[in-house]
Symmetry: C2
Subunit: 213 residues, 2 copies
């Protein structure tokens, strides 16, 4: 079977399906009709069908979706049926927040270590996770099978670090710095640009006011 | 002139244009051809033209873009030519990180106060910003012209708080809780769902590996 590339719009929706299915499981729901699921998610049933058809489709005519089954299948598609080792660079408030976020562990993302350049922080533990010196980062990655590096450092440091990470074998950068990182294609970058997020909020507020007038 | 609704895809790109133009200004660049700008941004010149045409277009044939002018115009479109008052609920690591992020202030987002339900935190200052009791939030919003509330609290607390915020006059919620908030249409919600972000990263890593094989 030839694989069509999946659009980023679909990939954006998959984790949301996964979240809702997880909530249904927690509520003890075993199956759900495509109509109910569509109402719950606030998207059309045909949108859901189309999205899932990209991966072979999972619904059955007259039955709907088996919640647990669909949850597991989407988990596999998202690659969270296995453990991903992560390190966090920057032991400031953001780094601490990530280190304290127990939800990640449940979803297969294991934060193995924090890194900082401040000698005062190195050697301490945050939420049971040790802070290492930034000088050790390349060796640590190679020796500990690290797949993802979260960068919670200022822009200039992030650009500099991204270059150091090339060739270490990491597969992804989770970038919280307010810049676009230039790295070879074998490293995937996922950006969390909070400044851009709040500007979108501002735009939508201002535009909403205009429409009300 | 009839206003077409602007797609969220364009709204997603505007803050990025704004960021690059800000960097050009910092470098002393006064004008840029549409080709150079497109190379810098990694999008086609026609994409940029189309996006900006939604707002009347700003380039001139044979001249390109006036950097400072375009920066200011996009700032106006994004509604960041005026100050937005924000409060942050949750004085944990995420709340502290937002309170310490000086970039927001520069862009017209002023964090006026933090709120927490922990009496140990109330009355203290974080980065010069006072922590108030969550019980005072509605009065505080009304008396201080608060437009945006950032929610950095667990899911159940966020759902509960969103209901309390209805009718206070706020215009937007910046939601960091891992849930979709149901609020009336006059309140805009911008979600920052970190769990979904890291699942997208995981998907792209796993899918990238498959393509390499």
């Amino acid at each position: 079977m030839e694989q069509r590339p999946i659009s980023q719009a679909i990939i954006k929706r998959l984790p949301r399906y996964y979240r809702y299915l997880g909530e249904l499981i927690a509520q003890g729901v075993e199956r759900i009709s495509s109509n109910e699921f569509s109402k719950l998610m606030g998207v059309t049933a045909s949108q859901i069908r189309q999205d899932l058809n990209n991966f072979g489709g999972f619904g059955q005519q007259g039955y709907g979706y088996n919640v647990k089954n669909l949850y597991e299948e989407i988990g596999k598609i998202l690659g969270i049926d296995r453990v991903h080792n992560i390190i966090v660079v920057g032991a400031g408030n953001f780094g601490r927040a990530l280190a304290g976020y127990s939800d990640f562990e449940r979803r297969g993302f294991r934060i193995k270590a924090l890194f900082d350049r401040d000698p005062e922080k190195v050697g301490h533990e945050i939420n049971g996770i040790e802070v290492h010196s930034i000088d050790e980062i390349q060796d640590y990655i190679r020796e500990n099978n690290i797949e993802i590096v979260a960068l919670t450092v200022p822009k200039a440091a992030a650009i500099d670090l991204a270059q150091k990470l090339v060739g270490t074998g990491i597969k992804g950068i989770w970038n919280f710095a307010h810049t676009d990182l230039k790295v070879p294609k074998d490293i995937v970058v996922e950006n969390v640009h909070l400044s851009e997020s709040i500007m979108r909020l501002s735009y939508n507020i201002v535009n909403h006011e205009k429409m009300e007038r």
